[in-house]
Symmetry: none
Subunit: 213 residues, 4 copies
């Protein structure tokens, strides 16, 4: 993925490069990103990037994989840390912790959506598919467990419900991200203090639709 030339660099420099590239790609997308700008910001020679990553695609891949891995780690930790909570509480945690992840790593989520909608990037689709698959399975499993524990109605179509949950969660994050970057004209004026109230309300709605009566 990255050549040994890059791996041999010291950690601070590697990180600096990752951050600069992430910033560029997340702001401009793949096609719009300029290696010229990246190296100018970093203050290194243009050739170095190509020595590290071979080409633009290589640089992007490095950034994208590292970003995806960060997301996966986040999801895994949420799953593991909420194992004993009930279904609706887990959803609420997913929502609020998602926002706090997004606050800490705003560019990662921005990169993800930019790439998702940019299309044209054959070398990403396998990764994107894997991520979505994982998230899909994660939610399905949560629902299945919720049914088992009697927290969720047993007559639900699981894939339909997963879609339903996934939409909601993803959109919840998108709404905040687009506001955070000012790119999308936010109409949901949710500021920091309102996030948890919103999360609670959404979970309330979900509960009405999904809990056994």
């Amino acid at each position: 993925m990255a050549y040994s030339t890059f791996n041999n660099l010291d950690k601070r420099k590697k990180n600096k490069i990752f951050r600069a590239a992430l910033r560029e790609f997340s702001e401009k997308g793949y096609a719009g990103a300029s290696i010229n700008r990246i190296v100018a910001e970093l203050g290194i020679a243009k050739g170095s990037i190509f020595q590290y990553f071979g080409d633009k695609e290589g640089l992007f891949n490095f950034v994208f994989v590292k970003s995806i891995d960060t997301v996966k780690d986040h999801l895994k930790s949420v799953r593991d840390n909420t194992r004993d909570e009930d279904f609706y509480s887990r959803i609420e945690t997913l929502l609020t912790s998602g926002i706090s992840f997004l606050r800490k790593n705003p560019r990662i989520y921005a990169l993800y959506t930019k790439i998702l909608y940019e299309g044209n990037l054959k070398f990403c689709s396998a990764l994107l598919k894997a991520v979505r698959q994982e998230s899909f399975e994660f939610l399905s499993e949560m629902i299945r467990l919720g049914i088992e524990r009697g927290e969720v109605r047993s007559d639900m179509d699981i894939s339909c419900a997963t879609f339903y949950l996934d939409s909601l969660l993803d959109r919840f994050l998108q709404a905040f991200m687009l506001e955070h970057f000012g790119a999308r004209p936010g109409i949901y004026k949710a500021n920091d203090s309102q996030v948890s109230r919103w999360a609670r309300e959404l979970v309330g709605l979900l509960k009405k639709g999904m809990a056994p009566q």
Copy 2:
């Protein structure tokens, strides 16, 4: 928006130019679109585009506004034609008619999402904001009416419920579009025959969450 030189063209030519530009922008995004390719496909002189629209931004604006208008017309017609149906039936119609709009105008929806996530386009954000505002008000009004008619629980937070609906509707379309274009690795295998079943199931879920008990 477009100069008089353009407005004076005959309708067929204007339409041809719109379609070619829409195709390019929806496939490549704003930055990735190439006026070279557009004029090559059209077989007209490059200078003409600049005479008609001033610059790339002008051309894009023309395409974007016209696309947005088409969407607005669609929404308005759905609203007007379903005025007498009950709340849940209206939602179901929104879902299925949304899909059929998307099938007829795949590039318009593609353009909308591409631009939404591409960002960087100051001159779009007002338009995007207006569209979202409109759609938001459309849904809010539907909910309010639903409550009035006793079809929806009266204790709902309307903006929260609007968000909830909006997420679901938008994501429903996105799922189909991304599959239609093959850009996003679909994991929801919804083919033609399944659309209405899915719509019905989602509405069922919504009903459980939103209907008075």
Copy 3:
């Protein structure tokens, strides 16, 4: 081969571009040629070349095909103008007129050899093959006719004799070209006045080998 943008230029400009490109390619070969240098010499914008020919390969193709055509025309005129001479006289004419062609078009022959030995140019090999085929057939036919007229021994292996002739003719030109360009350390000190003497002597040698006794 060349886009209409180029074909529409006035003849003087087209010729100027041809000459500048021929010079660069014949001096540096395909890989070594620099479009930067060509446009600098011409005093035109870099982009123009790409508008005319699409890419470096396109420019080269144009130059190469035009050069080859010039050679073919030369060969054809020699063949037609010497139809009534005897075999050995035709060979002598080939040698001396070859030299005079080379004096008038030194870069064309230089281009031909450069490319022949540079290899790696898939898009040339068909052309090169065609040229060699043509020259091969031209010589074979001359020998066949020589035999028919009783000027050449009838027991000759024609393809062997063609190889033999071809070697001599080609090498004769090469020797002069390499001296002309100073690229190859000439050891054959043939100056202008000696060319025809050499041609006569070589033909004398050939005659001893090929004429019936």
Copy 4:
């Protein structure tokens, strides 16, 4: 030519470097050769090459001189081993042993022609000139000896005959090499079994032209 750092390496490593560089230069020519690729193939540090040879030119020089020496040794051994054969038999041996040398050292002959026609290499021309001088003297001497022994006509212009022989020999090798490498579109379909037949036929032709009658 090569710095002591190189000369102090063990023989196997020196040979490995020679082979890798010969391969690159013979395939791509001087300008097209890439030190990057050479060191990548060798698995040594790029800096080492510059420590051994100073610069690209130095590396090339080393490769070229060593290659030329191999050719000279070959020629010398043919000359010495055929001293007692008659003139025409020596020529035949030159042709066939030339082919067998080329089969054993295809890259050396390829390098020689690539460079000969690439030009632009001031530091080669002295070497090339020396080689051609040597080969020229070798052939002249053979002819002189042939005349002395009564095998060759005594009225021959020796330098003309040398040119004649040289053309044939060189072209004979070229034809095979270009076919061997597939670079030049072969029209002489000579495969392995035909080489000696061709050599015999060419010698027959020569004999007719050169032997006293």
